[in-house]
């Protein structure tokens, strides 16, 4: 059993896969919790991309940027879940296609 070294290309494939999974999940699922999780997947795909290029170019900026993205993602998750709880209390549902009042 031989192991090929993990190259930057592998990371990019993983990242692209996660982005694809996240995007499809976001568009296909109607449970808002799942949608938030899909957004996390998308963000983490970006993070992997950043860290991969940081390692590839031996440059620290990508890692710092990944830390920022994680921080923003945490804030986003907190706010998103807060809204979700308020929504559930008021409407008794977390299905996004039943929440369509915000239109003209």
């Amino acid at each position: 059993m031989s192991f090929t070294p993990i190259t930057t290309g592998h990371y990019l494939v993983l990242s692209a896969a996660l982005l694809l999974i996240g995007t499809v999940g976001l568009l296909m699922r109607r449970n808002v919790i799942i949608m938030l999780m899909s957004i996390e997947l998308i963000l983490n795909a970006v993070n992997i991309n950043l860290v991969a290029f940081s390692r590839h170019w031996q440059h620290v900026t990508g890692q710092v940027f990944a830390i920022f993205v994680i921080t923003v993602a945490v804030a986003e998750a907190a706010v998103g879940l807060g809204i979700l709880i308020a929504l559930f209390r008021n409407r008794g549902t977390v299905l996004s296609d039943e929440i369509d009042l915000l239109k003209w």
């Binding site: 568009l27 996004s96 929440i99 369509d100 915000l102 003209w104």
Partner: protein, 597 residues
């Protein structure tokens, strides 16, 4: 030291200030009231007794061209001032006792001073406009004082009656004054008295005579005076016997040359006076209310003064005004004592035998009555003679004059016998203090004032005849018996008052109210109705404009946007997935396009 003579125009100010003071303080009427009149009297006496050298005049201010607020003091006006303030002072003092414990005591004195102010203004006026101010002022004061006991039944009606009959005359005064103002350019008596006679002047003179018949209670406007007797008795004495009702005669005296230039007017006045004198005297013969007897007597005596003034004998008329002021005020105040003693009883049928109970009032009233009846030697005798001598110009008027004298003596006798002699049937007490002492000067005047009158030449036959008529009347009047029909006719006041009631009051009340109703419905209401119609029409138009044009613009704009935005609105589904899909597709297209570049 101020010059009282040249400042004669202060005379009306004393009662004016007195009236204001009493009205403001609401007390002190018994002190301020008589004091103000006494001050005016003393001032008048100083001016009257000082050498003046013709008429004094004083212009307070020029109102408009030809009309000045101007006062004049000559013998005539000063004599009237002395009568008004002299008799007025005594009656003020008398009122202190008579009105004692009446509610509104201060109000009474404020009114009374107010009256004296306007009366003084009236006699001191140097032109018709100022005289008119006084003329209306005394009418108002008279109204207020007749209606003094406004809480008693019929008092308000009678006060209104007096005021309205006076108004009827005052309208004549105003029109006459305006005619004279147009003709002469001024209403100063000095100018008017120089106007030549003409038909227009005759009309003016007759209009002023109409005014005088209102104020001096002559035909056709005399019916208010007997009803004015519901006022307090001192008021009847001062206003409705001694002063205000003589204003008409004063006016004739003041305008004597003007009347002389229009002799037809004088004749009308004389005939009115003679007729009124006769009618009023006959009514007094059958009247039972002591004050109304004296009221009709006043009307009758004023008729005699009209007779004299109309015939040009203004001196005789004013002489009778002066003596009449004394004895009629005396008679009224004596009757006031009797009414006061009998607790408000005024019907002579319920009196009698008061001679022993009220000895001083008895003596004073007999003196006043004899003076009124023209008993030889007393004041009324001389002044009535002066009038009769003036009447010798016309045999008919002379005969009426003698007839009136006879009836006067008869009703005086009837009244005095009914009140003081016969059977005593009521408890009574003699008046004293302020209700007795003011009568002495009046009694002295009633007795001796005749000796200060104008000198009469060759009057002996008239004087003797008059004396005989007077004594005969006094004797026969003691127990007079008239035929029942005549008595009823007189007692109904010759149906004059009834005729006025039917013709004027009832007709005015019924026809007038329906006419007024019609006017109200059809003319007065036209204005609000038209306004309402225009308002509703205008609001209809503006409402249509608002809902169609203004709202139309707004709604059109809104619906235009609404229609135009319809396709765009379809994109706004409200579903998160749609938006997310749009984002993803957009990103995909953007990157795809980037790669294809």
């Amino acid at each position: 030291m101020v010059n009282l003579v040249s400042n004669f125009w202060w005379i009306p100010l004393y009662p004016f200030i007195g009236s204001l003071l009493i009205a403001i303080l609401r007390r002190g009427g018994a002190v301020i009231g008589p004091a103000a009149i006494l001050a005016a009297f003393l001032h008048g006496l100083v001016v009257y007794s000082s050498p003046r050298g013709g008429a004094l005049d004083h212009t307070l201010y020029q109102w408009m061209p030809g009309i000045a607020f101007r006062l004049v003091a000559d013998d005539l006006s000063l004599l009237m001032v002395l009568i008004i303030t002299g008799v007025g002072f005594l009656i003020h003092v008398y009122s202190i006792g008579y009105m004692d414990k009446e509610p509104g005591f201060w109000r009474y004195f404020a009114y009374l001073n107010f009256f004296v102010f306007f009366m003084l203004l009236l006699v001191l006026a140097s032109n018709l406009i100022v005289l008119y101010a006084g003329w209306e002022g005394v009418g108002l004061a008279s109204y207020l004082l007749i209606g003094f006991h406004h809480d008693r039944p019929t008092v308000n009606r009678n006060a209104n009656k007096a005021f309205l009959y006076n108004r009827a005359g005052d309208a004549g005064f105003l029109i006459g004054t305006l005619i004279l103002l147009t003709a002469a350019g001024t209403t100063e008596f000095t100018a008017i008295n120089q106007l030549p006679g003409s038909p227009l002047m005759l009309v003016a003179a007759l209009l002023l005579a109409l005014a005088a018949t209102g104020k001096s209670a002559q035909l056709p406007l005399f019916v208010w005076l007997p009803d004015a007797m519901v006022g307090p008795t001192p008021v009847s004495a001062l206003i409705h016997a001694a002063t205000m009702v003589t204003a008409g005669i004063y006016l004739f005296a003041r305008m004597a040359p003007f009347l002389a230039a229009n002799p037809d007017a004088g004749l009308v006045i004389a005939v009115i006076g003679a007729t009124t004198a006769l009618i009023a005297a006959t009514i007094a013969l059958v009247e039972h209310d002591i004050k109304r007897i004296l009221a009709y007597s006043t009307i009758s005596q004023l008729g005699l003064m009209f007779l004299a003034a109309g015939l040009g004998a203004t001196q005789a008329a004013i002489f009778h005004v002066a003596t009449h002021a004394f004895f009629k005020a005396l008679l009224f105040l004596c009757s006031g004592n009797i009414i006061h003693a009998l607790k408000g009883e005024q019907d002579i049928r319920y009196m009698g035998g008061l001679r022993d109970k009220m000895p001083w009032t008895f003596r004073l009233m007999v003196l006043g009555g004899l003076s009124l009846a023209g008993f030889p030697g007393l004041a009324g005798f001389f002044s009535k003679d002066a009038i009769l001598i003036a009447a010798t110009q016309s045999p008919i008027l002379l005969a009426v004059g003698f007839l009136v004298s006879f009836i006067t003596a008869a009703y005086v006798s009837r009244m005095l016998w009914a009140v003081f002699f016969g059977v005593y049937n009521r408890e009574a007490h003699e008046a004293h203090g302020t209700m007795l002492h003011p009568l002495w000067p009046l009694a002295i005047g009633s007795a001796i004032a005749g000796y200060f009158g104008p000198h009469q030449e060759g009057a002996w036959p008239i004087m003797i005849a008059s004396a005989l008529v007077s004594i005969a009347g006094l004797y026969l009047g003691r127990q007079i018996r008239l035929p029942e029909l005549l008595k009823a006719f007189f007692a109904r006041k010759w149906f004059i008052n009834d005729a006025y009631e039917v013709i004027l009051v009832k007709t005015t009340a019924s026809r007038g109210s329906s006419t007024l109703n019609w006017i109200d419905q059809n003319i007065i209401d036209l204005l609000p109705r038209a306004t309402a119609f225009f308002t509703s029409t205008a609001s209809l138009i503006s409402g249509w404009f608002d809902s169609s044009v203004v709202d139309g613009l707004v709604k059109t704009t809104a619906s235009a946007f609404s229609v135009a935005s319809y396709p765009l609105r379809l994109a706004q589904t409200g579903r998160t997935h749609n938006y997310a899909l749009v984002i993803v597709i957009t990103v995909a297209i953007s990157f795809g396009w980037y790669w294809l570049q």
